[in-house]
């Protein structure tokens, strides 16, 4: 399978998320010493739902991601996944339960080939040849199959982003966290990524994505949360959030890309 190329960006989400929330976070606060990076944020993600997270640089988006995926300890608050309390679970335990993330600064295993990078993740649910085949299938899905044998260290930025996504998808997660997977790509690359993310949501995956590019967030998200200085600024329907005076002020006062 190849990527649906150049799908025009429609202005409305094309799918309807359903069912009870898969992931729920309530009152998440993260402090680093005296700095409060995230302050009392709550959110919920249903299967098939895309939750957009926006906010100026340093707003605490990545830190919130880290708290949800277990890479930093939340000072306050509670996270449940599929009804189970995972507030204190290790990242690898959350990954096994069905939570996958990408890193804002991509981190491929540079010594391994592209296929081997994905294989490391494919081993979570498969063994032997089945894992290898699964890894290759995922590479086909993200359009990296032709690079399978290449060392991961040789990939350019756009392909490193796709590799990040491939590794996360190879875990066969139920919720996917994407930390700026689109920013920095050229327009065709952006559109391919947008189309892929939409396909993933349609297949029932819950997605939480951080993105600076407004029109991307607007076109993809079912629900948007805007943060600034760790706090919730506005939340709701993408267009309402974009039109919110506080959000406009936060973005105008910030030299974002």
């Amino acid at each position: 399978m190849t990527l649906p190329s150049l799908t025009p960006l429609t202005s409305e989400p094309v799918h309807a998320p359903s069912g009870p929330p898969l992931l729920e976070a309530s009152g998440i606060t993260v402090r680093f010493g005296g700095v409060t990076a995230v302050k009392n944020i709550s959110l919920a993600v249903r299967p098939g739902e895309i939750l957009g997270l926006i906010g100026p640089n340093g707003a605490g988006k990545t830190t919130l991601f880290n708290a949800l995926t277990g890479f930093v300890r939340a000072s306050e608050g509670r996270v449940t996944f599929d009804g189970r309390d995972i507030t204190h679970a290790q990242p690898q335990v959350r990954a096994k339960m069905g939570m996958a993330r990408t890193f804002q600064v991509e981190r491929p295993f540079e010594d391994l080939s592209v296929l081997e990078n994905v294989l490391v993740a494919a081993f979570l649910k498969h063994r032997g040849r089945a894992a290898e085949n699964h890894a290759y299938d995922v590479l086909e899905r993200v359009g990296l199959a032709d690079r399978a044998a290449q060392p991961a260290s040789q990939l350019n930025l756009a392909r490193r982003r796709r590799l990040e996504l491939a590794k996360a998808l190879a875990l066969e997660p139920r919720v996917l966290f994407l930390d700026e997977s689109i920013a920095g790509l050229n327009p065709p690359g952006q559109q391919e990524m947008v189309a892929l993310i939409r396909t993933l949501a349609q297949s029932g995956l819950g997605i939480v994505m951080v993105e600076h590019i407004m029109h991307v967030i607007m076109s993809l998200s079912d629900h948007v949360i805007c943060m600034a200085f760790g706090e919730l600024l506005a939340e709701g329907d993408p267009h309402d959030v974009a039109a919110h005076p506080d959000v406009i002020r936060a973005y105008l006062g910030d030299d974002h890309d």
Partner: protein
């Protein structure tokens, strides 16, 4: 589109370069025919080749440098010898144990030690593990020197041993083939790790622990598994070494230089390659033998020079010089 048009998928799951291993095995197999008079050298070289391979499962694959493998070697040697000696074997065992049972018990003890030791130290990041290996080896050496049941500072003598599979264990020829089997075992295990989930998980952990955790891998658990395998094989090598030595004392068997020697053989040979450690052990042994006749006791000097040369000119070890693209274990074909 027909299947024949579909380009072949690249493979990641391979055993690595099996040919180098087969060549190595062939060299080891013909050695007794060519150098039948130098069997002492052959046996000790092969034992250290196997020990360096065992070390590398932890030092190369898991990226955890141990400078205390002499302790694990000692556990294998002491356990087997004590249990085989009628005057030393604990009374409840009702008599001396055959060396193979003693070796297995030594391996079990080494596994248990590695399990506890690794679980405690791998949680800490950085060089804590390496420091702990020096400390644990020191403690074990002190226990061996100061206890009666270990023979104190005098050490132990190997008692009469029963025949093993019809082999006289004090015959150098028999010992050679046992050491040969030991090296092959470590090679097979390393090839198997290369192809396994464990091998890939270890490489991921070695490069980026958080990146690995995001993919559902528990770094501590993977390192502990590598350590246990390494410890079990090292203890087995220790039992063999004890038979070869016939008498040993803590000052020779449990000292830091033994640990350093095992580590250096692997590092100089190339911890990024499957067979590198064995090749390193063989090259160092040959070097030592050649230069021993030129200037006695110059081993340390040679090691020093080699370490400098390797770190300056071949940071991936000697085998790293011969692999162009694939420097590391994962891409080593």
């Amino acid at each position: 589109m027909t299947a024949s048009v579909t380009p072949a998928r690249p493979r990641a799951l391979t055993f690595g370069n099996v040919w180098i291993s087969l060549a190595l095995i062939a060299v080891m197999a013909v050695y007794p025919l060519l150098f039948g008079k130098s069997m002492n050298f052959g046996v000790s070289t092969l034992i250290f080749a196997g020990l360096a391979m065992s070390w590398n499962l932890l030092g190369g694959w898991a990226g955890q440098t141990s400078l205390g493998h002499a302790a694990l070697l000692g556990i294998g040697a002491y356990t087997m010898t004590i249990l085989a000696t009628p005057e030393r074997v604990p009374a409840f065992l009702g008599g001396p144990l055959a060396p193979w049972w003693g070796a297995l018990i030594g391996m079990a003890l080494a596994a248990l030690l590695a399990l506890v030791w690794g679980s405690l130290t791998f949680r800490l990041r950085g060089s804590y593990f390496t420091l702990s290996t020096i400390a644990v080896a020191l403690v074990i050496r002190l226990v061996a020197i100061n206890s009666d049941w270990t023979g104190g500072s005098e050490g132990l003598f190997m008692p009469e041993l029963p025949r093993f599979l019809g082999l006289d264990l004090f015959d150098r020829q028999a010992e050679y083939w046992l050491a040969f089997a030991f090296v092959i075992l470590t090679l097979i295990i390393t090839h198997a790790v290369r192809r396994s989930r464990l091998g890939y998980a270890l490489q991921a952990v070695r490069e980026d622990e958080d990146g690995a955790r995001a993919l559902g891998i528990d770094p501590t658990r993977m390192k502990v598994i590598a350590f246990v395998i390494s410890a079990v094989l090292t203890a087995l090598g220790g039992s063999l070494y004890a038979i070869y030595l016939q008498a040993f004392e803590p000052h020779t068997l449990l000292e830091l230089p033994i640990s350093v020697q095992i580590a250096l053989m692997a590092i100089i040979g190339g911890r990024g390659s499957i067979q590198g450690p064995a090749i390193g052990a063989i090259l160092l042994a040959v070097f030592g033998e050649v230069f021993r006749t030129v200037f006695a006791n110059a081993n340390l000097l040679i090691y020093g020079v080699l370490i400098l040369a390797v770190t300056l000119y071949a940071p991936d070890g000697i085998t790293g010089l011969f692999t162009r693209g694939g420097r590391k274990l994962g891409t080593a074909r």
